[in-house]
Structure formats: structure tokens, C-alpha cells
């Protein structure tokens, strides 16, 4: 049957058709919809894992037990999971084992632009790279079998444009694959030094066998032009851009389209290169294929012409390789206002940031999530954002230094306190270990756990604090307050606060600021976009009494997109407002009031 699917939907479909039994993931753009779609197939046991390392380990255990298993994550998630990934390469697979990395060229929603293809040679893993949704399905369907045949985890590498583009896909049926027998074999699966060293030799031998497979497999192919003049080696989405860019040259261009990209097919590349006059390597970001081609002693044009930075498209390829010039484009002289992402109306983070922003002698170590947006004006709350969990641990480091004599800001002013900011899902992901570190090493920082009862930025996935599994079943809800106390934070230093209650927030921030030892504030309002929350508050909103308003604009300082200044008058858009009333609480003239009734 023909369907139009995103790459992520097609990957899920391919896993299902392959008879996959177990799937685990931690959400992260652009990968999140892979597991969301997998979880709709009842035959596959799916879970949101606490983090990517856990996801890979869950899938690893399932593979060793004999099941076809997969783990999915965004590119930076693979850094978190690199530890089990590298050693699972030694252990190999029993049931087929596929790890999906979804990279983000162009940094549409990521903190860096790493090209995870390098992981494959580094960890010595077979790698596949689909170039559209059909290949996502087809390659995924075959990936488990390749993993089983070569006793290796397989790295399945996609990018934002593959994950989030829809194209036409022919689907098939599920093949039920029996769970393979589990046989205890410590020499293969207990990676103590002696056994690991034996497997280390196995890796080299496996690489040789995989290289031969790469030369013969149906995932690497040549599309010959009518004359063998220009040759283009390419893979993944870059293949699509290259095909489009070279369309006007017609039959003088031939393509070596690579879908199995570690090990790269040396013989195939040599043969292709020998039959064309000019050789181009068209790839997005790093010179991954080009480096290998050059290692083979073959000269080619690649990154000397095509930029390594940012997302690729056919226009860039044409300008770089075909010398296409810039033509006149339409344009009008009226710069549109920028639309940076902002905290939503009713966001449960706003009140906390409004109060933190009042402290000028505080450094804020923030983290990855919606609350990263606290850095935007007018709130401006974040000094650093590094990676998942660093909101806590980098805060420990900041705090250590600012307690040393001589440490100060460039203008000489002292930093009196360090606040860490982290979301609920991110805290479970990798903040807990930082908090234990903070307690044991007597850090004086304070931590704000912005618990909005969901993984908001990636689209509302469940996490250990929501009390639901990915299948929607009720489960244990991890109690953040009890967890912090169990980590060693003194019970009187853990404070729950409703972030819509600005008076309580103000008191809590003050207490955190004044505390001598580690202090934790946990917010208690769910994300305003959670369906039940939106429904419950849809008839509630704030309104401005024009007679009382003195146009002091203090309410505009809370940074709410529902509040506007139109021709000198402050207005609140009723459609957008959910009546959180942060603005009403900052108004010095009590000119803003909440109207409407809550729904049950």
C-alpha cells in the first residue's frame, strides 16, 4: 500500500515490518516521533527510557536475550549513550540490534552540529544512511538481519530533513521473527579485560567482512549517465540535493549513491572513480566520505568547494560546483520583525524567571528544555547552557569558583550565588547525579527544578515524573521532593512552590539565595499546553482596566506574548491568555484582574 510518511514514521514502520520486539528511546528533536510511532505497534514493547544511555542498555540487554531491538535518540543523545555503544560493539548482538542517531545539520533545535557518522568507524559499527522515507523503511527492515549476520550493533544515521520530510512509501507486512535462544556465554558478553581483548581482534576481522559486504551489498549502487564524464559520490539527503543540482547536466553525470556507509566500499569507489573524468563528493557537514576517498589515493572535489557548516541544499551544491550565479530575487524594503521562540502565555516557568531576574549578583547555570528560553529578553535568565544535566553540575563548578577570593565579574562586581535551573525530565535524565555531587561535595548552589509534569519542548512525552508509560498505562510517579531528600538535601531545604503564586515564589527565591548549603526549589504547575490544563483554563483570562492602568509597562516585563502595547494602551489577548495572572501580580495599580470560570 502507498502512503505518505515522514522518515520517522517510515523508520517505525520498517522496524515493525522487520519483526522488532523491543524499542527504547529518550525524546529529542528530530528523533522523538520515531518511538512515538513505534509505540503504536502492539507487537513491539516500547519504553521512554530515563536517558539515552539507559535506552541503549535496555535495547542491548533485549538483543542479548534474543529479541530484535532498537534504541533511538538525537545526535547529542548518542554522546550520552557512547559508553554502552562502544562496548556493545565488542559484545555484538544476538537478536538484531539497531541504534538510530538523528543528527541536526543547520542546528534547527540543537546545541551543536556534530556529524555522528564518525561514530561508526570510531566504534567499528556497520552504518546505514537512508536518503528518503522509502529507504528509511527498507533499510530499517533489513538492518536487524545485518546486525544478526555480522554479530554487531548497527548504527542507523538520519538527519532532520530525513526525519521530518514526508515522501511516498510502499509499505509491506510484518515478518514475525522468533526470539532467538539465549545461551549464556561470558567469554562473549562479560567484557572483562581478557575477553574484551579477544573480542578486540574479532572487531578487526568483522570490519574486514563488513567491508566486503559493503562492496557487494544492494545499499550502495551506481546510477550511470549516458557518458561517463562527471562522477558524484554521495549519501543520505545529500544524494537528493545532488540529483537535483546536477539535473540540468543530464546524462554527463553519474552517481555513486551510498546507503551502507561504514565500512565504506573501497573497491566500488575505486572502480567508479576510475571511470569518470571529474569526481565530486557531495556531503553535508563533515568530509566523512571525502576523507576515505583521499585515503584511497583518489583526488576529488568536496569540502574545498562545499561548506561544512549548516544544512546543505541543491542551490549550495550548484553554486559550489556548477558556478551558478546569484540572480535577482524579489524583495521589499520592510524588515519583518524577528520571531524568536518565547515562553508561551501561561508558561509555568515565567514567574520563577521574573523573580530570579531581580538578582543581579546571581549566575544562572541553565539546561536544555523550554526553560532555556528564559534567556530571551526581557527575562534574560541564563548564563550558561551546555548539555542535559549541566544545569546542576556546571552550577557546582561556578559556585566553587565564586566562593574563592578574587573571583568576580569583569566589572568587579561580586557573584554572591549560583542558581541551577533544570526541568523535570532533564533532572531525571542526568541531573540527579549532579545533585548527589552537589550534596556530597558541599556545594552552596541552589537548584530550581522546573517541574511541569511533561517533557515539554520535544512535544509532551511522558517521563518518570508523569506517572504514565508510553503505552498510557498508569505507573509509579517518581516523587521529586522525596528523591532530593534521598539524595541528601536537608528536608527543610527542599521547597515546593506554585510558580503562579508570585508572593510564594519571591519568598522561595529569597530563601534559596540566603541558604548556606544546597537548597532545592521544585515548581508544581503543569505545562500550560497539556490538554487537560488548556481545557480547564480555556474560559479564564486576565483583562486590563483602562481607567486604572497608568501605562507604566511593568506588566510587559514578564515577557508574555498575550500582553501588548497598542497605541499606548496595554491589552491582553483573551484567546491566548490562560489567566496565570503573573501580570496581575506585578501590576502596581491592580489594574489587571482575572475573569471567567475554570472548567472541571
Amino acid at each position: 500500500m502507498k502512503e505518505i510518511m515522514t522518515g520517522n514514521e517510515a523508520i517505525a514502520r520498517g522496524a515493525w515490518e522487520a519483526g522488532c520486539h523491543v524499542a527504547a528511546a529518550y525524546p529529542g528533536t528530530p528523533s522523538s516521533e520515531i518511538l512515538e510511532n513505534v509505540s503504536r505497534y502492539a507487537e513491539i514493547k516500547s519504553e521512554w527510557s530515563t536517558n539515552e544511555k539507559v535506552a541503549v542498555e535496555v535495547a542491548a540487554g533485549a538483543s542479548l536475550a534474543g529479541a530484535r531491538s532498537m534504541a533511538a535518540m538525537k545526535h547529542v543523545g548518542l554522546n550520552v549513550a557512547a559508553d554502552p555503544l562502544f562496548t556493545m560493539s565488542y559484545i555484538g548482538s544476538n537478536g538484531g540490534f539497531v541504534v538510530i542517531t538523528a543528527d541536526d545539520p543547520g542546528l534547527f533545535s540543537s546545541q551543536n552540529e556534530q556529524d555522528n557518522r564518525w561514530y561508526a568507524p570510531h566504534a567499528k559499527l556497520p552504518m546505514m544512511e537512508p536518503s528518503d522515507s522509502q529507504e528509511c523503511l527498507d533499510f530499517m527492515r533489513d538492518a536487524f538481519g545485518i546486525s544478526e549476520r555480522f554479530d554487531a550493533p548497527l548504527l542507523f544515521r538520519v538527519t532532520t530533513r530525513i526525519c521530518h520530510s514526508k515522501s511516498v512509501v510502499e509499505t509491506g507486512a510484518r515478518v514475525e521473527v522468533p526470539i532467538k535462544p539465549y545461551v549464556k556465554d561470558p567469554g562473549k558478553t562479560v567484557m572483562a579485560p581478557a575477553s574484551a581483548k579477544r573480542r578486540r581482534y574479532f572487531l578487526e576481522e568483522r570490519e574486514r567482512r563488513l567491508r566486503k559486504f559493503s562492496n557487494d551489498c544492494p545499499y550502495n549502487w551506481v546510477e550511470w549517465g549516458s557518458v561517463r564524464k562527471i562522477g558524484v559520490i554521495t549519501s543520505g539527503i545529500s544524494y537528493q540535493h545532488a540529483r537535483e543540482a546536477f539535473a540540468e547536466l543530464g546524462g554527463s553525470v553519474s552517481f555513486l549513491k551510498l546507503g551502507f556507509t561504514h565500512p565504506l566500499p573501497d573497491e566500488t569507489i575505486k572502480k567508479f572513480a576510475s571511470e569518470v573524468e571529474t569526481l565530486y563528493v557531495v556531503e553535508e557537514n563533515e568530509p566523512y566520505i571525502e576523507s576515505f576517498v583521499r585515503q584511497l589515493g583518489i583526488s576529488c572535489v568536496g569540502k574545498s568547494a562545499i561548506p561544512a557548516v549548516d544544512e546543505l541544499n541543491s542551490g549550495i551544491v550548484k553554486r559550489a560546483l556548477l558556478g551558478a550565479g546569484e540572480e535577482r530575487a524579489y524583495g521589499v524594503d520592510a524588515p519583518p520583525p524577528p520571531r524568536p521562540p518565547v515562553l508561551c502565555p501561561g508558561c509555568s516557568h515565567r514567574g520563577i524567571f521574573y523573580e530570579i531576574a531581580k538578582y543581579k549578583d546571581v549566575v544562572v547555570s541553565s539546561d536544555i528544555g523550554c526553560y532555556t528560553l528564559g534567556v530571551m529578553p526581557p527575562l534574560g535568565v541564563a548564563d550558561s547552557v551546555i548539555c542535559m544535566g549541566a544545569g546542576v553540575s556546571a552550577g557546582i563548578g561556578f559556585s566553587k569558583v565564586f566562593s574563592m577570593p578574587g573571583a568576580a565579574r569583569g566589572d568587579g562586581s561580586a557573584v554572591k550565588k549560583v542558581f541551577g535551573v533544570i526541568g523535570d525530565s532533564t533532572f531525571f535524565h542526568s541531573g540527579v547525579t549532579g545533585l548527589i555531587d552537589a550534596v556530597v561535595n558541599k556545594s552552596g548552589m541552589a537548584l530550581f527544578i522546573m517541574d511541569n509534569r511533561t517533557t515539554a519542548m520535544t512535544g509532551h512525552q511522558d517521563n518518570p515524573g508523569t506517572g504514565r508509560t508510553i503505552a498510557g498505562e498508569p505507573t509509579c510517579r517518581i516523587d521529586l521532593e522525596a528523591l532530593c531528600v534521598a539524595c541528601g538535601v536537608r528536608r527543610e531545604n527542599v521547597r515546593l512552590v506554585d510558580p503562579y503564586d508570585l508572593t510564594r515564589v519571591r519568598e522561595a527565591v529569597r530563601e534559596a539565595y540566603d541558604a548556606g548549603d544546597i537548597y532545592v526549589i521544585i515548581t508544581t504547575r503543569p505545562c500550560a499546553l497539556i490538554k487537560d490544563v488548556t481545557r480547564g483554563r480555556e474560559n479564564v483570562s486576565c483583562q486590563v482596566d483602562g481607567d486604572l492602568c497608568v501605562k507604566c509597562k511593568v506588566c510587559l516585563k514578564v515577557g508574555c506574548p498575550a500582553i501588548s502595547l497598542r497605541e499606548g494602551a496595554v491589552e491582553i489577548a483573551r484567546m491566548m491568555c490562560n489567566g496565570c495572572a503573573i501580570c496581575a501580580q506585578v501590576c502596581p495599580k491592580n489594574a489587571i484582574s482575572k475573569v471567567g470560570e475554570f472548567n472541571d
Partner: protein, 217 residues
Amino acid sequence: MTDGAVKSENRLGAAGGTKSILLVGVGGQGTILASKILSEGLMRAGHDVKMSEIHGMSQRGGSVTTHVKFGPKVYSPIINEREADILVAFEKAEAVRWLGYLRLGGALVVNDYEIHPLSVLTGEAAYPAGVIEMLKAEVPNMIEFDAGRIASGLGDVKAQNVVLLGALIQGMGLGGIDWEGVLADLVPPKLLDLNVRAFKAGAARFEGADTNLKSKA
């Protein structure tokens, strides 16, 4: 399509016979749903279709773009600058932002609707004045459209995305596809009636008209 148009497409590098529609708007306007409906219908009519969207932070009031390309065979899902045959702007400042993506001679459909970002709401930045007039002066093939008013008249301003879609499809001469069937499959049942009415109201705008969407795109 005339020979001239084919040549000009080759010159601009689109794969043979491929048409490109760039839909732009602001997070929450329903550009992605409109693009999904369009892509699904085009696939059912036998075209190769690719649709590409960038989301993730779009729910937070950001600029949203979806690229729809269709024809006998589509390669890259991305529409480059100066390559869109049709630019559909759900919000008029977004038309300005993405105007450089429209090919010379391409058609621009603009919803006469404003959404102010935070910087404008707080008075720090100004929303550009006279956008519609400037666009008209720059782009010969421009159609302005008050989909917000039409949708409000039907009972929900949020249906303006499907009003625009109905107009676009009628204007492109694609009315022969079973769009109601596509709507029924992609829209929640309780909103189906509203969306069908919105689609028809949009289509009525170009009923029997020889639009520049059809002849030039």
C-alpha cells in the same frame, strides 16, 4: 505549460516538471496541517510528493515554513531561494521574510493577517506598515486574501488555514481531486464540518476564475 515555462524551470534548476509550493506562517496557524492535506491529495492523484517542515520550537510562536514539491519525480525536499512557484503566506510579514524564495514570475498568495511577535507587543520593534502595497508593487502575480475574516464568518478564525488551502487548490486547477475525502481522513471528526465549509469558502474565491496560480505556476 508553455515551452518558455519549461525552459525557465530548467534554468532555475527544478527537476523536470516539478512544482514547488512554499507555505509560511507563524506557529499555531495550521500551516503544517494545510500542507499535509495538500500533500496527501497530490499523492492520491498519482504525483510523487515531498513535504518538508521544520518544527520543534514552532509551537512557541516562531516562523514556520513547509515545503511541498510534486511532479513525476521529486528529489530534494527543500525549496531553494528563487525557486518556489507559489509562495503562500498565512501572515503578511512572513510573506516579506520569505519573498526571496519565490521565483521571478511566480505567484504570491498573501493572507491579510497580522500576528505580532513579542518585540512588537512590548513596543521595542515596529510591525512594518504598508506591507500589502509594497508586495503588490514588487510581485506582479500577487493575490491578497482575507482568510481570517472568511474563517471568522464561519465561526472559527483558526480555520483560516483550510480557507487558504481551498483557494490555493482551486486556483491551481487541482479541484478534481477528492479533497473532502482527504479532509475526512486528516481532520478530527468534530472539526470536519467546519473544515469542509472553510475549504469550500476558500475555493469559492476562485470558482471559474482563470487565476495566475494556474497559468504561471
